[in-house]
């Protein structure tokens, strides 16, 4: 076995990915066991397979599992979305929340809730349409940001600056829509825009999971095009790749993933930045291994953030987005500073 001869076989993409997903499973079990009624990991696993006491099964399957599964898929979706975005913009600092895509998706989700609610605050159309709306908002915001920052190409920093501005604009727009609706919706939306998986239920999961799996699958199918794109436009065109078409498809996959994540969990920040960076450090830049690994890391980050948010100040819940920002913002500044060092060295 060649891979065992490597100095550090934990760095082999395959094993690293297996390890990170094992960690994800472990955190899921721990998370399902913690809360007001603590359960031992064994009891949790028993409950997952339909064994054990009725009471335990209710707690695990009805109350805790929906939000854990949601955290899992939202984390994966945001991480893969960020990985793709960093690839197609060739910008290591890009991520859906920093360049305003998340804010655009939030805007159209609040718009959706404002348009399709009746007086009793219940939706008059199926919730299945929500991801579509979020996707449209994310995509059009991404296109606006790209259009506004285009000047003989997408200079990395210009993209970020314009993205920050558009993000502020979309947040202002979101506030307008929130104020137009009833007070109840404003308070709900405040929590939701910070990023929380507080209200997850199975019916949302059934909408979220197929979309997330489909889009992650498409991004894996596009792995070769992605690797070619990273070589630069000239080489990519030279080896016969349809650069612009592929880039557009990948952008749609990325905004789609952001859209489904935001539709159900709000703007959990910095996952799309953190996960791909960690992944690139551990498994290297090859897209297929990087994207799988960062999906795992993204899931892990959101799961842990949600677990801490649930347990740390119980019975209060702190939105998961607070913890991811607490880690992500300093890391982002660190990236800014080290990039300078690398350039000047």
């Amino acid at each position: 076995m060649k891979i065992f001869k490597k100095k550090n076989f934990a760095q082999h993409p395959f094993f690293a990915t297996v390890l990170v997903f094992l960690a994800v499973l472990a955190v899921m079990v721990v998370s399902a066991g913690s809360g007001e009624f603590p359960l031992s990991p064994l009891k949790v696993i028993a409950a997952l397979f339909g064994l054990g006491e009725e009471f335990n099964r209710t707690i695990v399957m009805d109350f805790r599992m929906p939000r854990i599964v949601m955290a899992l898929f939202v984390g994966m979706a945001l991480a893969v979305s960020g990985a793709i975005l960093q690839g197609i913009t060739k910008n290591p600092l890009a991520s859906p929340d920093l360049i305003g895509i998340t804010a655009g998706a939030s805007f159209s989700v609040v718009l959706f809730l404002a348009i399709f609610s009746d007086e009793n605050n219940s939706l008059i159309v199926s919730i299945q349409w929500l991801p579509l709306f979020a996707f449209l908002g994310a995509t059009s915001t991404a296109l606006i940001v790209f259009f506004l920052s285009w000047k003989n190409g997408l200079a990395p920093f210009r993209l970020l600056l314009i993205g920050i501005a558009v993000s502020a604009f979309m947040q202002a727009g979101t506030t307008v829509w929130m104020l137009m609706g009833p007070i109840y919706r404003a308070s709900q939306a405040t929590i939701w825009t910070t990023g929380s998986i507080y209200g997850a239920n199975w019916s949302q999961i059934y909408v979220l999971v197929p979309w997330a799996l489909l889009l992650i699958g498409v991004s894996l199918l596009m792995r070769r095009q992605m690797n070619i794109l990273e070589l630069g436009d000239d080489i990519a065109t030279g080896v016969g790749s349809y650069v612009q078409r592929n880039r557009l498809i990948l952008l749609l996959v990325s905004t789609g993933l952001t859209g489904v994540a935001v539709a159900f969990a709000g703007g959990i920040g910095f996952i799309g930045l953190l996960a791909p960076h960690i992944a690139r450090r551990i498994v290297g830049p090859q897209f297929q291994s990087m994207v799988l690994f960062s999906a795992g890391i993204g899931a892990l980050l959101v799961l842990i953030a949600d677990l801490i948010g649930r347990v740390a100040f119980a019975p209060m819940e702190v939105p998961a987005g607070v913890w991811t920002a607490a880690v992500g913002a300093p890391y982002f500044i660190y990236l800014l500073m080290t990039e300078r060092k690398r350039k000047s060295a």
Partner: protein
């Protein structure tokens, strides 16, 4: 462009009279229908009618607060742009507003503070903390962060403080009710006592900045030239940063984090009066007041009968401007 000191002085007169006019307009226009006559008699022969009460107790403090807060934000932005030598600096962009509001919310949630003075000092402390972070970052290492990276770092700091604030508010719902509207940036229904508590600090910071504006001119030639001309650059930067922090902190304590005034106004002012800070600073004060008064009056009409927080209005106006500056002046 106003080239001579004579025209510039006339410009000041025009500025002050437009502020007066807008403050009067702010008394008259809004959801409750009132006439200019009502506004006059509300002060000089009041009858205690509803209109008069609204004008005297609701709209008058509001106009006053809008004017002062706008002036603070305008000057604060102008100073920050000079000190960090960065055309995109402003209290909101660098995270100073977010830092100040985080400290205030911390005080409300953990220590249930109520007094105007403690609001004020928490806000100053938060603004100072955030600006210190930005300042250290911009001077770290041999060359420090480039202007663009400084803005990005500020955005990250802003995001961090904003989400920490949200987290605190989720923990304490009473505090949420207390600060929700304030947090979007609003000059409506703010107690005048806060304004009077802030006034001494604003006055000191403004006059200090106006009197020493010449030093900013020297500073803007670059650190090397400034040192060569005998300026203690670090001291000058420190002094003006303190002014900027006090102005931004006072604005946040009174009206919450209102964005984009501090970036729009100095640019407009510079294209109007040139690069002399002795004129830039007073003009930024007037420009900020005019912009915030205008934004506040229009915020009453967009969603009538509901009002928008004025911070939303300034963001809607300011973002296109920010994008213009980012594309034209940043050279990236």
């Amino acid at each position: 462009m106003l080239r001579t000191n004579f025209t510039r002085s006339w410009g000041v007169a025009v500025g002050i009279s437009s502020i007066m006019l807008l403050m009067c307009a702010s008394l008259v226009y809004g959801y409750t229908d009132t006439s200019w006559n009502d506004a006059y008699s509300a002060f000089f022969n009041q009858t205690g009618s509803n209109e008069h009460i609204i004008i005297r107790d609701v709209r008058f403090p509001r106009a006053l607060i809008a004017a002062f807060v706008g002036a603070c934000l305008g000057v604060s932005g102008a100073i920050m742009q000079s000190v960090t030598r960065n055309p995109l600096s402003s209290p909101s962009i660098l995270g100073v507003n977010a830092g100040a509001s985080f400290f205030v919310v911390t005080g409300v949630v953990f220590f249930s503070i109520q007094s105007s003075q403690s609001y004020m000092w928490l806000s100053f402390a938060g603004a100072a903390f955030a600006f210190l972070m930005v300042f250290i970052l911009s001077n770290a290492g041999r060359e420090g962060l480039t202007p663009v990276k400084l803005v990005l770092a500020g955005a990250a700091i802003s995001a961090l403080f904003a989400s920490l604030t949200q987290g605190l508010l989720v923990l304490n719902e009473n505090a949420l009710d207390q600060v929700l509207f304030w947090l979007a940036g609003s000059v409506a229904n703010r107690p005048l006592s806060l304004m009077t508590a802030a006034l001494p600090y604003i006055a000191i910071a403004l006059s200090l900045a106006f009197l020493r504006a010449k030093e900013l001119n020297v500073l803007s030639m670059g650190d090397d030239v400034a040192v060569g001309l005998g300026q203690k650059t670090l001291w000058t930067k420190f002094l003006f940063s303190v002014c900027a922090v006090f102005l931004a902190g006072a604005a946040v304590a009174v009206a919450g984090p209102i964005g984009f005034v501090g970036i729009v106004i100095p640019h407009l002012v510079r294209s109007l009066v040139g690069l002399d800070h002795r004129w830039i600073l007073p003009y930024s004060a007037m420009g900020g007041a005019v912009l915030l008064l205008l934004a506040d009056i229009s915020s009453r009409y967009i969603l009538m009968p509901q009002e928008l927080p004025v911070g939303v209005m300034t963001a809607l106006i300011g973002v296109p401007f920010f994008i213009y500056v980012a594309r034209r002046k940043m050279g990236i």
